[in-house]
Symmetry: D2
Subunit: 496 residues, 4 copies
């Protein structure tokens, strides 16, 4: 069985220490092993990155960008292979995986414009004959720690921009689905990236701790659950590192009585069940204004959900695949059970789904729960599965109160035709990414991604303009020249 190692200083590196199973979740079978880096291996990666930094930071930004132009092209050429690697280990459908790759490509595209994004501000005559300007310099070695649910896209939120800004990078991807991520290292190398600028260590807590403790690592970008995000943010901050740590979510959609229900239902299906709901931007709660709206909505959702197809990533007919692990499958089913127990109504139950040929796969079917209330566990916690919960309230104000009271503040959406309602919602909702008739309001790559409240720890959002700011530090230069005899004088005033 293939054993997956690391990528350090432009080379595949194997370690013979601890390792761990990698599953195909549709089959429920181990298909590979992944090595878990010890402290020494992580330090080797950091050393490689540290060594590469001096020369890479001096490379003109436009030249660094050209590596990204090349990388974009290679990712495009290899996207089928990448998508299959994602599907095999994560379980999401290949077409969904291609969507993920496309989003990642957009971040590479943004990184291609880094020379423009790095421009500082220049002021002449801040005082008489005194000029001042700002320069945004790379930090040094920066680390990324990324989750299983987007093994290609989330790393691409980080490393293309970090590298284009002149940093060198150590990535610790999820140990659940490491193959697609590792393949990126090959493509980067083929794109002409110098050795040591990008490194991957597979691993677990030991690897993470090493990254958080090594003084040479200047910044850490993390995406994962809130509990870990918070702990990583604290540890990184305590160790004097810059950190942005993105955590969990509970994304609500308000459906107003004037919403276009056909479009709304269509949008909700993809947003709730795509990728089996294993997305930090998944839309997991619908708040319907008025019972009439709720009834009509549930009616249509039921009809449409009957058509959902669940199964292997390879069958392009499927809407979504299995959950990532057996444990996670159990956890999601328990949430459904708890909702029922606490008084909610299971309208569509995905717990007993049978997928012929994939009987050992970790599948949960699309699930719709009505009459959910804010006291229920299934509402308070992030389920991260194909479960859509419906709440019923009487007014938009009540719906907004629910959202503002929730501990998470990643994404949210309103479905309405009304300009005033949309504007009021966008202005007053305590959530970082807001959709108006857009159920997954993930900002495009030239804007920045960031939740509020306990969905993001840190001052700056991820990727886009904030990403540039995160991966650089400001230097301000103030310059005056003492008048020499040079200008007025003749040549004799000069040293000869």
């Amino acid at each position: 069985m293939k054993s997956i190692g690391h990528w350090i200083n432009g080379q595949h590196v194997s370690t013979d220490g601890r390792d761990q199973d990698v599953f195909n979740p549709a089959l429920g079978e181990v298909i590979r092993r992944v090595q878990l880096a010890d402290r020494k291996t992580v330090e080797d990666a950091i050393s490689a990155a540290q060594q590469a930094f001096e020369s890479w930071k001096r490379t003109p930004p436009s030249k660094r960008a050209r590596v990204m132009f090349q990388f974009k092209q290679l990712v495009e050429i290899n996207q089928d292979k990448l998508a299959r690697l994602i599907g095999e280990e994560h379980g999401k459908t290949v077409s969904d995986a291609k969507g993920e790759i496309q989003r990642g490509l957009e971040n590479i595209e943004y990184a291609c414009g880094v020379a423009d994004a790095l421009k500082g501000e220049y002021s002449k005559n801040v005082g008489p004959d005194i000029d001042s300007w700002s320069d945004f310099q790379p930090l040094g070695v920066v680390a990324g720690i990324t989750p299983f649910n987007f093994p290609v896209m989330v790393p691409m939120w980080m490393f293309p921009l970090a590298i284009a800004c002149g940093n060198t990078f150590v990535l610790k991807p999820s140990e659940r689905d490491p193959s697609s991520t590792l393949f990126l290292a090959d493509l980067l190398s083929q794109s002409g990236l110098p050795e040591g600028v990008f490194n991957i260590v597979n691993g677990d807590k030991e690897a993470v701790d090493t990254l958080l403790e090594d003084k040479r690592v200047k910044a850490v970008s993390f995406v994962g659950s809130t509990a870990i995000a918070e702990s990583i943010y604290r540890k990184a901050s305590d160790n004097g590192k810059r950190c942005q740590a993105l955590g969990g979510a509970k994304n609500h959609a308000i459906v107003m009585p004037d919403a276009d229900l056909d479009s709304t239902v269509n949008q909700l299906l993809g947003a709730a069940f795509g990728s089996a709901g294993e997305r930090c931007m998944a839309l997991s709660v619908v708040v319907a204004i008025g019972d009439k709206t709720a009834d009509a909505l549930i009616d249509r959702l039921k009809t449409e959900m009957a058509k959902l197809k669940v199964g292997s990533c390879l069958d392009s007919e499927n809407d979504f695949g299995p959950l990532v692990t057996k444990q996670h499958q159990d956890k999601v089913c328990n949430y459904i059970a708890s909702a029922q127990l606490q008084g909610a109504e299971i309208v569509v139950d995905g717990r007993d789904i049978a997928v012929p040929g994939y009987e050992s796969g970790y599948f949960v079917g699309g699930t719709l729960i009505d009459k959910v209330t804010s006291e229920m566990t299934s509402y308070q916690e992030e389920i991260f599965g194909p479960v859509l919960q419906v709440m019923r309230v009487d007014s938009m104000q009540q719906a907004m109160q629910l959202i503002n009271d929730h501990e998470y503040g990643n994404g949210t959406c309103i479905f309405t035709r009304d300009g005033e309602a949309a504007r009021y919602f966008a202005d007053n909702i305590e959530v970082g990414m807001v959709g108006i008739n857009v159920p997954l309001p993930v900002p495009v790559s030239y804007h920045s991604f960031g939740g509020w409240k306990r969905s993001l720890f840190g001052d700056l959002s991820a990727y886009g303009p904030d990403g540039v700011r995160f991966y650089t530090r400001r230097k301000t230069v103030t310059q005056r020249w003492f008048s020499a005899g040079v200008r007025e004088g003749t040549q004799f005033a000069f040293p000869s």
Copy 2:
């Protein structure tokens, strides 16, 4: 004796708990008492700020800016009074205090342009008929904790911009010189600022801890020593607050053999001894390239330092005043003694200065120490007094290594005529604020202030564009409208 209280919700508030002496350091006498806020008082201030927030954040930015236009005018009108209050409690000369006020005014001026600075980015068609834009919203209640050495300017780095961005503010100024800061509250009130938007609590650790622990405080700006900055940054971060904490410094100037020595010496005197060296941007170390340069420099410095006048803040002939406390005076003298003990040469000794009529004042005269090395305590630590130390090295590269190896990275400067040397220095020095023939390279208010390494904890610099980013959080809205019958149809398609 006057007892100084707090400013909460638009009113002077007195508490009868703990209090503390306020000295006139030139006389060495207690002139006032300052009350130390307990937890309850600080919470009252936070409550006032919290209550004022909803309405203040909805006030259009241009209207908020108009309060700042008014405030600027009132500070200008009252600058003599302000400067005397500073001088009396801090000890710096009135003309130096006016310089401080002027720098503060520039920050108010920048805050007057907040409507422009708050602009988000708007993208049409991020997808077909989908638009996206960013909006920078205020955080809520934010706190400032400020040091004794700039009782007016450092608070003005914070609150004008924070408030103009739509936040409400609780300031805990230094308990050493509270009067000038408190006077600002009166001026803000006269400028039309609504009650509760700006509040001051005088206090000590209890007040600081309350600010760091109260969940309603969303961000903390701090300026002070590195030890406290680090501890405040950790505590604020652990409590989920945004924080920028500015700490200590050891600012070096490199003097190259081609420097214009007359101008250089002239610049160094002000930069080293102004405000008795009690500035985080004070230039405290000169690194001379070559003995010839060093000898010539010391020669001229000695001559010029003989003319320095030290005394009361009220005498406009004086160059600088006393140190802020007896303890600090002793500490500075001990540093001088330690340098001597560790092998440095005291060229000009300010320890035994006599200031007629101010015999009990905490004066230390301008001190020049030659042949300082990097092992000496006086080099490794921040002295914060009128002490200029000279180091001798053979090359620019050695000088830069010294600077890059020091734990602080606030400001630095090079004196040269050579374009290449200046560019190399600015590019490669590991310091956040760089001067080229500018000994105190404090960025102007429309740029941002921030050191590197252990001089600043946090991702963003203070004031200017980074200040706006610090005092706001990004919200990204993505909007699509489902096509209605409205456009194509006749009026009959509409609800009537």
Copy 3:
């Protein structure tokens, strides 16, 4: 009778050549005379401006801004006097005049932030060790030629920003109402503006031609009718000057069937009749979608228009005042007559209005015309009077076609509740300034003002960010330093 002269090089200047009557249009009486500058006088003003330029451009932007801070304050203090001067010569009510002054003040506020607005872009390492940055330098002497309808606001669109950018200015205001404009020169002088930086010449075609022909004038800003705007743009362009020339308008509002009619009617009244319709942003055409909407709208307009009060500027009860001249009064009445003749229906007729005590004033009352079509003269041309015309169409698409076919493209507005309709309108309408439920969508001072089609000749809009770009020229510097022995070597490598 007082004779109004010029302001050149910091002094009031009188000329004894040609002059002209200045009327009080409410009384229909001559109240002053205004001198008309000959070529020589204009050249004197240009010379003064030229001479002042060298020193003014070198004044740091923040210092130039401080003159604007001061000027803002003086305009605020003197706004009652200014408003009365406007009302007396122009006829608009004092409260309307104060609105104009307020808009002008906002442009001064923007100019106060010029140091930030002038920032260039700085790029390190555009090539190996090569840096590049842009610097926006003032042009030199620039001229403004402004219309009678906003004697304070339109000049303030121009000179505060032009001056703050480092240019010097020659203003030729309207000869109909010169007093308020001239008063600004006094206030600028009191604000500390150096002599010669700002100059005013009153005059007519001779003055204009001189400004357009003199080589020392580098740019011309014009606001007036389209015919003159076009001719000035051509002449200025032919003479190698930068020019922006703002012309006429025909601003339509679409009223959709779902609009909130109460609010809509309320908005329309002010937008159509305020300042007697003598505004380039006046809303002069309403396009109602469907007869039902049209009927309801006209019904309410009729009711509300009965309450309009017309008369002297001094009576604060009045909604608007007289037209500016007898000739203009006749012209407006002729447009009303022509509409009637060409088949429109005069719903409310303002032609025979009687204003007791002001029988010789040039008054026209609020006029409402229904069933206007695109062939009518009153539709094709700009009326510039208190006349609101209603057109009836069946669909939003037809309404948009009307607007897109019109030669002007200054402002437009839609009244609707529907998000999709609003977005479609804003995106596809061929007009530069678009309101959504905002009938006078004049951009605020930190955005820029500019119509499309024959409403603006030139590449850049007026004031705001485009204004800064218009009043400066880009210089790009690219810098490399040859490596000297300085850095590596010892001090002996240096000239001594």
Copy 4:
């Protein structure tokens, strides 16, 4: 013999009207014919562009950018072929042609970031609950008219950005070397650009006049001689089109006594003789400060110029090739003769150069003229040939006066080590593009290209940020929503 036609609506189009010879200037032989478009053909191209506009402008910017990503790749793959086509018809060496292509590629790279560059500014609460934002919309059909000297690069200054901004394009390239330009149309088509978005018409004055007169053409970008630039700017402006017209140049380098002469001479050779001096940024005048500097400089130049190799574009040993036509060769020789006649000293004479095997080619060898003065014709006019003229002055101030007095203001450079001299020069020189030790200070693609004085007619520079502004028009939207019952009410308030 091959006859070169046009590219209209995605197809090669041939016309049988007038045509003209295309030469290989190294051989002095006709190698192809180029068809000259008549009015009808140009109008067909405009129609194609007009028709393609509606759908292209609606294509999201990121999708438009993706065509540019693809185009970049195809240009890179085909650069050898492109370079040979340039060399064959223009005469420049293949390696020089590749440099031109590289510069063009950088403009494509900038166009790849158009989604970011098109961002408007968004302001919430410009008034209570009123928002405002700017949107930069494409103009429609825009035209480019480009010169022979950069048949690939100069068109690429224009069309990639214009197209990426959503415009459609008609290019009229130089009729001297049309083949490389036409090849770009093929590559664009292969990149997925929709038909009609990019069109090429070969032609002469008739084609130009048609472009300048057709109302559907909204903007014209021109690069060529000053006389034609001025006439095109006037005509375009008169016809209501936006125009930027770049004209001639006379680029001076000041060599200061402290300059590093080896580096300077090395830089000067390429800048003066590269591409046979047929560049608007060619460095054609050296102003030496002091005779000592001049003598040393000329000495070294003479030595180095002896090594220059002139000949066919295909031989990679050659430094430069022939001039573009026989007429131009004569003109350049006449300038040399006139200098001699007017008292200058011909140090190196390139008039009688013999290139074995290319006896009929239009060669002029590298020529160095000393003691040139400002009265000479060869100084006042642009030579556009491999001729470097040296002037001798006593001070930097005199040198700057010369430059500031010249009618052109495209590029300039100073060679010095002195920071103060460089800063003074950059600040005060009346030239748009300034080099400090950089002899060809062409701004990189993410800055903008623009001369001053009679080197550029128009308000905005070419390419980069100014290019985006030139190829778009600003629309400002101001939006308010009337409060509906929607938010507060229950669902019953809604239309059902």
